[in-house]
Amino acid sequence: MHDTLQNTSQMKDTLQMHEKLQKFRSIVNDPTLSSTQKARYLSQEAENALPYLELEPEVQEALEQRVICDMYEGHAPYKPRYVLPDYAVVLQKGSKYLELPIPETLDEAISTLMIAYHHVPSVTGMPVYIGQLDDLLLPFCIDVSDEELYQKIKMFWRYLDRTIPDAFMHANIGPTDNRVARAVLRVDAELKQVAPNLTFFYDPDVSTDEILSVATNNIVECSKPHIANHPIHAKTFDERGYGIVSCYNVLPVAGGSSTMTRINLKKVALRSDSEAHFFDEVLPRYIDLNFKLTEKRIAYLFEESNFFNSFLVEEGWVERDRFSMMYGIYAVADAVNILQKKHGRSGKYGFDQTANALGLKISRVVAEAVEARPMTNVWRGRALLHSQAGICTDTETPGVRIPYGTEPDPVSHVQALAAHHQYYPSGVSEILTIDETIKNNPQALFQLCKGALASGFREFSANVASNDLVRVTGYMIRLTDVEKFNDEKGSRTNTTAFGAEAVDTVGILKRSPRVVGIEFQATG
């Protein structure tokens, strides 16, 4: 009997190994992947061939059922999810490890940054943060003419898109109205590239109406950039500053986020008999389980992976204790609609006062729980709540958003959701869908943006219908690229694959301006 069991378990292992090898083989032979992409996927598969971190049975079960989720970051966290180097350090001091002198000219500064980016890891393997570009480069622009600056930024922009072909790579500018910010905005609208992602920080007391206008006109032109509510973010973080990275994640500069985990609130609601049951028992239970999962992942990174032995820490690009952690939730709309139904109420999330109040209560309750839980190896000892925008295999509604296809006009949309934003310090985003008639009336977008930020939105993002560039929640894809990808010609840009999958899951090409919630493709 014992032999049989042993044989059975051996057979299982052999079978699993065989499946894994087959998976490796299919990656190696995939006609749509470049060799770099193959290498990346192979490394992910290898990591996931390791047994998972040891979890308590309850946590394990919740993870398997996907009520809590580790974002498929991998079985052995050997790098933080997001790294936000303070690039000013290398621009001011050069680098011993990289044998780089202190740059003196604009060319040298840009070259230094270009080299630096190659050494910044993340969950995708590529940098998700390339710095506060105007702050970094302005000191080098004194003897540079406007035309020269434009040309250099243009070359730089092209370099970024062609060597780091990932729409999660994110540049920040603002809030002042300055030459570098204007050059970046000019180039970004002209080149209409998928990468880099771009956020302009807006501060009504510092930014001019003119530069905000340039930014909103850019959105009409190409659905980029995002516009961030600088005063709210500045208050949340410290004097060293914050960066907006990847899709719309807000984190400390000279640090980042060790990991992201998330709770599927739809599944929590399905496991609840009533609203009271949800708030008193089921939600607190899964909040706790998600914390336990999170703590295990952080511990591995800090205690076993040796990541912090890196030159990044040694030379001061990042500091070990400035790594925060994004504690995410999603499917608020679905949870609310389920609970409403359980109580015989027909009001839907986004349209009904009771439903909206219930949704807001969920945000508040989770925010309070996150605030109350001390954490080790986390900046300031507390996780940062995050409204998670989904991954391409999700069928649930992202974050706190209103379900697709049912969104009201942009203003009502903003008003329905603005109250949530105070609870999500590490990021929350809506992508407003704007009819393309706005191309004849860009002033309207300017006003919409101001109104949204004045209402308490942490950031303003919009998709204008008919643009080839479309925001697939936080990051861009080119619709024409997706078409090509689907014809199995493959795509140069990493994130096109996610967009293509989203097309299948949510029909992005079938409906004009529909946005999809994805953040990272499932590899599990």
Partner: protein, 296 residues
């Protein structure tokens, strides 16, 4: 607002077909748009014909409603918006192109709405129907906006067919920031055929507005086989030039959405047709010609 101000404006009420709290195609920026019921034209190609008539309480709409949102009370139509599911069956049933779902709004009702949406608004537009038919209300509303400190920055625009006399403009213009004026056709018999009215007043209004510096844009609906003849194009160009080369001209393309009756069989205006008209105007020196962003 002062009690005196309140007393002054509270009497005037508007019969409103619809209000949009978000609109990007009814004037510059994002606007609060009030669509007033009733029109003095009867355009065969109207794309919201249910705004033309004024209810005469005939009751034909009542049986058309499947959710009991309509009833007759003391010989008048009573509408219950709570029950209404906006199926619009009553609009189809109405024999005089009126609208039983109209609601009454006072000036302070509109000001309250404007305040609620203030951070998002650049201004307020009155449209319809023909907004100038409820002149008293428009005057009271626009004056009130000007007199309310936290709303005074909102621009006040009118969307109109221009069928209004000079004395009325004299009262309206001091409280109006801009007017969007539609001329339906230039040949008088064509205009009568399309609208059941003469076009002299409209063309005269355009001149009055331009002289006052309040003509924000002149609009023209291009309908294939009807308003796009060479003759009409000549007259349009001539008229625009008589107003001035720098006026903003908005070309609209005839489409079927909302249209009723025979014109549903008419061709829609394609992009090429609009571009032809735009090119002609631009060659004649008209610099600011706006064409549609979307063709459906």
């Amino acid at each position: 607002m002062s009690p005196k101000g309140l007393a002054k404006t509270s009497q005037v009420q508007a019969t409103v077909s619809k209000i949009l709290t978000y609109s990007i195609c009814d004037g510059p920026g994002n606007r609060l748009v009030i669509f007033l019921q009733g029109c003095n034209f009867n355009c065969v190609t109207c794309h919201n014909p249910h705004t033309i008539g004024t209810c005469n309480n005939c009751g034909d709409c009542v049986p058309a409603c499947h959710v009991d949102a309509l009833s007759m009370v003391n010989g008048k139509i009573a509408f219950n918006p709570v029950n209404c599911d906006q199926c619009d069956a009553c609009l189809v049933a109405c024999p005089i192109s009126a609208n039983p779902m109209v609601q009454k709004y006072s000036v302070s009702d509109i000001l309250e709405l404007a305040r609620e949406y203030r951070p998002f608004l650049n201004g307020i537009t009155v449209s319809g129907g023909e907004a100038t038919l409820q002149l008293k209300f428009v005057l009271a509303l626009f004056q009130a906006v000007k007199d309310t400190p936290d709303l005074a920055h909102l621009t006040r625009f009118i969307d109109t067919n221009g069928h209004l006399g000079p004395q009325s403009w004299e009262r309206l213009l001091p409280v109006t920031d801009g007017v969007m004026l539609d001329v339906k056709a230039f040949d008088p018999s064509l205009h009568f055929h399309m609208t059941k009215q003469d076009n002299k007043k409209s063309m005269q209004s355009a001149k009055i507005l331009q002289a006052a510096g309040k003509l924000f844009e002149l609009r023209f609906l291009a309908i294939p086989g009807h308003t796009d003849s060479a003759g009409e194009l000549e007259k349009l160009t001539e008229f625009v030039l008589s107003l001035g080369k720098d006026i903003r001209v908005k070309l609209n393309a005839f489409q079927h959405h909302g249209v009723r009756g025979e014109p549903l069989n008419w061709e829609k205006m394609p992009k090429s047709g609009i571009e032809h008209i735009a090119a002609h105007l631009r060659r004649a020196g008209v610099a600011d010609v706006i064409t549609p962003a979307v063709y459906t």
